[in-house]
Symmetry: C2
Subunit: 418 residues, 2 copies
C-alpha cells in the first residue's frame, strides 16, 4: 500500500464529465489499495474568467484581493471532486488552503509555501478518506488568503507529497510525459520513461513546459518521486508516463542527450567596445537588475587590446526598456556602442550524459553549420549547451539536432551507434 | 458620523457595471462621513450555476461539500467590490466568513450564527477602511465552511450590525421598500416609509418577500434599525426606502392597516366529526409534525354535541403526504372523514393599528362578501387577520381590500377618512 499524491490540471477538471473521469481514476488507485491525496486545479478557464472580471473593475487590482478572488476556482474544484468521489461510494473530504493549513509567506499572487500542517490530512487518510486539497492556495501569518502563482497547483502537490512523505507525486496533465522535444516541431519526438531532475529542470525552463519549474525544484529539494502522466488515457491504462528521478544510477536511460529545448521569448543585447576592467559587468548589469529586468544568458569574451564585447539576453517584453537603460550606461562606461536583436531563438541540447562525453558541443555546431545556420551566441553548462540563432532557423535547428542525436530512437539503439 | 452596514443583493452585484454602481454608492456614504461595512451577495445566478454543477455530479451531494462550493460566490464578490472601491480611491479590505470569523453551528446549508468576533473589523474601520464581508457564510467549531441558507446574506448584514452596534443596517435590493401589497396585483400599492418589525414579519412571511424572515427576527431580537432600499435608484438619491422600526411611537405612521399579504403556496386539510376531547389536537398534528411537515394556520371551532371539525394548512408540496398521514389518523381517532383542497389562497390584512381598532375584521369580511368571495377559513392575531379563499379569487380579494382600506393613500389622508 502506497501513499500517492495526485495532481490534476485545469483541463483534466474542465467539465463535470472530466471530473467524473478523475474520480474514476482515483477510485482505481484506491481499489488497488493505495491511500490517495488529490490536488485539483480550477476548472479550465475559470481563473482567467475571474481575473478578467477583476481587471475590468480595476486594471491595477490589489494583489491581496486578487488572491481572494482567484483562490475560489480551486475551492469549487475540491467540492465538486469530493461529491463525485462520494457518488462512487468513496469516502472523501475536501480542504481549502486555510483548512489544511498550508502556511505561506505574504507575497500575494506568488506566495511561497513555508509549512504544511499535515495532521488533519493524516487523520482523514487513516480513517479511509480520499483527501482532496485545493491547489494553488495557502494562508499567511495574518490569516490572509494567498496564491502560489500560475501553475502553483503543481507546487501544492509536490509540497504535500514532501510533507506526507508520499511514495510518489503524480502530475496528471494533457500530455503523457516528457518528450525529447516538442512533437509539434519534430513529429519523431520520443517520450522519455525517465528523466533526471536536472534535465527536467532544463527542459522545463527552456520551453518544453510540462511542469512548473518551482515544483520541480521543490521535488528535487525534498527528493519527491515525481511522475508526469496524462489524464486522457484510459482509466485502467498501465502507461506510467515519465518518471523524474533524482539519482543518476536509478534505472537511468543511458542516453547522452535527453532532449532539445527551445524558446523565442528572448532578445539579445551586446555592448560593444567595453574597457576590460574590474567592475565593468556590474556597471552594465547593475542598472538592468535595478529596473527588475531578468537576465538569462550572459557572455563576455576574452579581451583584445584591453577592450571586449559584453552580451546578454533578456525577455523580449523587456527588450525596449533594457535598450533605453543601456544607452545611458554606454555613456557612463565609455563603450563604443550598444546593439540588440529581438528576433532570436535559443536552442539547447540537454543531457546528463554531456558531463562525461566530449565532443557533443562540436558535433552540435557542425550539424548547424551544415544547414547554414549561423550561431550568434553560445553558452554551456554541465548538462546543456545552448546556442542563439536567428529565430527563422529555430524549427530547422531543432529538427536537425533531434535527428543527429537520434533522439527518436530508444537509448539501447543509441548505444549501438558507432 | 454613523456606522452603517450595507447589504447588497445578487442583482445589485450582477455585473462589473453594477458592482461599480455599488462602489459609487458606498463612496457617497463615506464622503458624507460615515463608516461603512458592506456585505455583498454572490453575483446573480452564480450560486445556482455552482449548485447546478454539483447536482450534475451528484444529485445527493454532501452538504459540507456543497457549502465549500456555494460559499465561493460571495468570496468572489468581496474581492471584486474591494478592488472597485480601491479604484475610486477608497481604502477597503475584504473578509471571508472564516477571516472575520463568523462562528456558526455545523448545520451545513442552513447554519445559524453563534457569534461574530468583530475586533478585526473594528480595527480596519478605525484605520479608515471600508470593510467588505462575505455574506451567507461562516465557519463551524471544526473549521468547516458553512452557509446560512438562501437569502443568508441578509442575516449576515443584520448580525454584523448587531455585533458592531451599527446605527443602521441598510438592505439594498431590486425593490425600493416595503409596499402595502404587491404592485403587480394592485398598481396603486403604496410604498411605506416606516413599518413596524411585527408588521414586516407578517408581510414577509405571508408573501411580500422583500427580506429573509430570519434576518428580520434577528433584527428584532437585537433591536437593529433595518432599512430596505433600492440599489437601482440614482447614487445620490435621497430616497430612504422603508425603515423597519421596533418602537411603535418612533415616527410611526398612524395607519390602521399597513398592508395586505397573500400567498397561494398552501393547501388546507379538514378532519371532520372529531370527538371533542383532550388530546385530540395532538393526536391529529403529532403524526404530521413527526413527518417534518410544517403547519401554518390551525383552526378548531367550538363543538356541537361533543363533535368538532379540525382544520389546518400545510405547504402545497406536502399536501399529498399530509393527506396520507391523516387517512391513518382518521381511523385511530374515529373521525368521520378527512377532506382537503390545494387550490386555496391566503389573504391577510396586516397592521399594528388593528390592536386598538375594532371592526377591522368585520369590515374585511363585508368587503369580500360584496364581491361574492366565500371565506373558507379565518385566523386572527393581534396584528393580522387572515382568510382562506378559493385561489381564483386571490387577486380580486387583494384589490378590493387594498381599495377598501385606502392603502393607496398616505396616512395623513387616511386619518381624515370618517
Amino acid at each position: 500500500m502506497s501513499l500517492i499524491v495526485q495532481k490534476y490540471g485545469g483541463t483534466s477538471m474542465g467539465s463535470p464529465e472530466r471530473i467524473r473521469e478523475v474520480a474514476r481514476r482515483v477510485q482505481r488507485f484506491v481499489k488497488e489499495g493505495h491511500r490517495i491525496v488529490v490536488v485539483p486545479s480550477a476548472m479550465a478557464g475559470e481563473t482567467n474568467r475571474l481575473l478578467g472580471l477583476a481587471k475590468e473593475l480595476n486594471p491595477e487590482a490589489d494583489p491581496r484581493e486578487l488572491d481572494v478572488i482567484a483562490s475560489t476556482g480551486e475551492q469549487v474544484s475540491i467540492g465538486l471532486l469530493s461529491i463525485a468521489l462520494h457518488r462512487m461510494g468513496l469516502k472523501a473530504r475536501s480542504y481549502t488552503g486555510f483548512q489544511v493549513p498550508i502556511r505561506t509567506d505574504d507575497a500575494y499572487s506568488k506566495a511561497r509555501i513555508l509549512a504544511i500542517e499535515e495532521q488533519n490530512i493524516r487523520r482523514d487518510l487513516a480513517a479511509g478518506n480520499v483527501v482532496v486539497v485545493a491547489g494553488f492556495q495557502g494562508i499567511d501569518a495574518g490569516g490572509n488568503i494567498t496564491t502560489l502563482g500560475r501553475g502553483g497547483s503543481d507546487t501544492t502537490g509536490v509540497a504535500l507529497a514532501a510533507a506526507l512523505k508520499a511514495d510518489e507525486c503524480q502530475i496528471y496533465t494533457d500530455v503523457d510525459g516528457v518528450y525529447t522535444t516538442d512533437p509539434r516541431i519534430v513529429p519523431e519526438a520520443r517520450r522519455l520513461d525517465t528523466v533526471t531532475f536536472e534535465e527536467m529542470l532544463e527542459l522545463a525552463s527552456l520551453g518544453s513546459k510540462v511542469l512548473q519549474i518551482r515544483s520541480v525544484e521543490f521535488a528535487g529539494k525534498y527528493k519527491v518521486k515525481l511522475r508526469v502522466l496524462s489524464s486522457f488515457t484510459d482509466v485502467n491504462s498501465t502507461d506510467m508516463g515519465t518518471l523524474i528521478t533524482f539519482e543518476e544510477d536509478e534505472n537511468m536511460e543511458q542516453a547522452i542527450i535527453s532532449g532539445i529545448a527551445f524558446n523565442r521569448d528572448e532578445a539579445k543585447i551586446t555592448v560593444l567596445g567595453v574597457p576590460d576592467r574590474p567592475g565593468i559587468a556590474f556597471a552594465i548589469l547593475g542598472p538592468v537588475a535595478d529596473a527588475n529586468i531578468d537576465v538569462d544568458m550572459i557572455i563576455q569574451n576574452a579581451s583584445t587590446e584591453g577592450m571586449t564585447d559584453f552580451s546578454f539576453t533578456v525577455h523580449r517584453n523587456e527588450y525596449r526598456r533594457a535598450m533605453q537603460i543601456l544607452e545611458k550606461v554606454k555613456a557612463e562606461i565609455k563603450a563604443r556602442g550598444v546593439v540588440g536583436d529581438d528576433r532570436i531563438a535559443k536552442v539547447s541540447l540537454v543531457g546528463i550524459g554531456m558531463r562525461t562525453h566530449a565532443g557533443i558541443a562540436s558535433r552540435m555546431f557542425g550539424t548547424l553549420a551544415r544547414e547554414g545556420i549561423n550561431i550568434q551566441m553560445i553558452s554551456t553548462s554541465e548538462i546543456k549547451t545552448s546556442v542563439v540563432v536567428d529565430e527563422k532557423y529555430m524549427e530547422l535547428a531543432v529538427r536537425v539536432l533531434h535527428k543527429e542525436f537520434q533522439l527518436d530512437k530508444a537509448p539501447d539503439e543509441e548505444k549501438m551507434r558507432p
